[in-house]
Amino acid sequence: MRTTPPARPFDTPERASFRDTVQRFIDTEIAPHANDWDEAGDFPWALHEKAGALGLFGFGIDEAYGGLGFDDALMRFDCGTAMGYAGIGGVNASLFSRGIMTGPIQQLASEDQKREVLTEIVSGKVGGALAMTEPSGGSDLSRLKTKAVRDGDDWLISGEKTFITGGMKASWYVVGARTGGEGFGGVSLFLVPADAPGFTRISIRKKMGWWASDTATLHFDQCRAPASGQLGQEGVCLLAIMDNFNHERFSLSAGCLGMARRCLDDAIAYAQQRETFGKPLIKHQAIRHKIADMSSRIDALDSYLQMIAWRINDARDKGAPMPAAELAKVKVLASKTAEFCANEAMQILGGAGYLRGCAVERIYREVKVMAIGGGSEEIMRDLAVKQMGL
């Protein structure tokens, strides 16, 4: 049984209504298929369009390009938490990874590009992916090796990207490539269509988790992109990416909260009906303490995230930067909380949890990517301390 979260300090009727709708959407359209889709390693594209029609991909995107015309971190939070709770991270990743590439397009692309590309990605008609990580590394993007050189009116991109979520089905990619010298300053962003000459992709199968999502390695072999494919200016464009990472970290953290809460709820339900040593598992003190530890960590993460959501909104209203330090810290707290709760829930489920087909088992496999993707725990800690001016 889902535990009813307590009243929230920043709630509004619209947020509550949105939360309700998203919950119902997930309960009806996603949750019943979670195990089948995970085992199949795929899910129907129609889900992208249904989620798009609800407006889930439109935060921070202008209405003219099919977006909502507003942003609200608290709504993003509710959406992220509910998706995490569904316990099918692959679907969550495939649906929402477009969010890490639509932001830079909204900020940097030309009017024509936005009309053509953003509209169809935000509606869910087609997919989009952000391609930054390379085989040589994802943590240190200042050293990325993919190169783009001018050839008449075009750019020729050469290099390789890997671990790209949504990468097999995307119609559009935002690709980081070096156009100048060393460091971040020499990096540019390109908007590349999947049918660009010289572009190929291959699927990365056999992942530990996120089975339902398509992950790809992308090859750029003198891949030809028009001059207009460059987004913003060399070096400067990375500001948009950084802003974007902040949103990504926030959504991933909200997802972790949902995953953790699902683990708690399922563990409680199991412990209530399972009997060992002549009484329900839930009556054994060792189990009760696990429940207490999970619950308190979940509450702490929940409160921290809601506060940060408020700060993100406040910063946007004031034209101030995102609270990057808090976002880095909460990302670590979030993946640690999800990992802890998944581990404890698996333990409470005993042998039953070790079998495929239940949400806790899936989440247990999926917590690790939360500790690595979108900025790993180590990199987030480094960033947090740097942001503290130390």
């Binding site: 049984m1 889902r2 009813t4 009727p13 619209e14 509550a16 209504s17 949105f18 309700d20 709708t21 119902r24 959407f25 029609a53 609800l54 407006g55 889930l56 439109g58 909502l68 507003f70 709504m75």
Partner: protein, 249 residues
């Protein structure tokens, strides 16, 4: 044409209801409340009629406490045009609701009232029928299909023996069954737009309707717990038990 859709705020269908210890009713403290699912189907049907060009305006009305406004907003977010909120903290019985709705019909002159066949809290299944009687309008209850005709509606009804199709002339009362449609999700843009749609605030006194209860609930109790069953080893044992223990064959 205008359609009136009454909507009720009830305990969410996912909630496992608990009877209050003093057996005076169901415990509503901290319980999630939502729009009655049958009412949602009614709202959806009205919107579909409007989308087909068979209606111009959809007015939703809810009778209940301040929070019933949320239920109206949900209907507005789905696509209704405006709301009427008749505020009361009292529990209003079906007859009181029907009388209030009759007054709203008098003021608004809709040509169609679509409402849920019942609310999942009391499962009374009476408001639509009572409203039809008070107004002297034809009624088509338990609808699983509604088709607009020139002078009314062809309504397919779910009845015990199967399906029955009847013709009703306009204006009419239709009550919805579960299979009439699948209500849409309110999209986020529509949730935001609903904020700006008007809701008229009224009270039962504004309509001069006496909503004092006519019924007295003596006691509310949990249904008897089902005893665990037994597993039988063989067909012979089953037949033996049915014959000698249950005495049914």
């Amino acid at each position: 044409m205008k359609i009136l859709v009454p909507v009720k705020r009830v305990v969410d269908y996912n909630v496992k209801v608990r009877v209050k210890p003093d057996q005076t009713g169901v415990d509503l403290a901290n319980v999630k409340m939502s729009m009655n699912p049958f009412c949602e189907i009614a709202v959806e049907e009205a919107i579909r009629l409007k989308e087909k060009g068979a209606a111009e305006e959809i007015v939703v009305v809810s009778i209940g406490p301040a929070q019933a406004q949320e239920t109206i907003r949900t209907a507005l977010a789905m696509g209704a045009d405006r709301g009427i909120h008749i505020t009361t903290d009292d529990a209003v019985e079906s007859l009181g609701v029907a009388k209030l709705l009759a007054k709203v019909v008098e003021e608004e002159s809709p040509e169609l009232v679509i409402l849920g066949k019942q609310a999942i809290d009391g499962d009374v299944n009476a408001t639509g029928q009572m409203l039809a009687a008070l107004l002297g309008w034809p009624q088509a209850t338990f609808a699983s299909e509604v088709e607009k005709t020139d002078d009314g509606y062809n309504v397919t009804r779910e009845i015990d023996g199967g399906l029955q199709t009847i013709k009703v002339s306009s204006p009419a009362i239709i009550t919805t069954d579960l299979r009439l449609n699948e209500p849409r999700y309110a999209s986020l843009p529509n949730i935001m737009k609903a904020k700006r749609k008007p809701i008229d605030a009224k009270t039962p006194a504004d309509f001069g309707v006496d909503i004092a209860p006519r019924l007295e609930a003596l006691k509310v109790a949990e249904p008897a717990k089902r005893e665990a069953g037994v597993k039988v080893e063989s067909v012979a044992e089953l037949v033996d038990k049915l014959k000698n223990e249950a005495g049914v064959i």
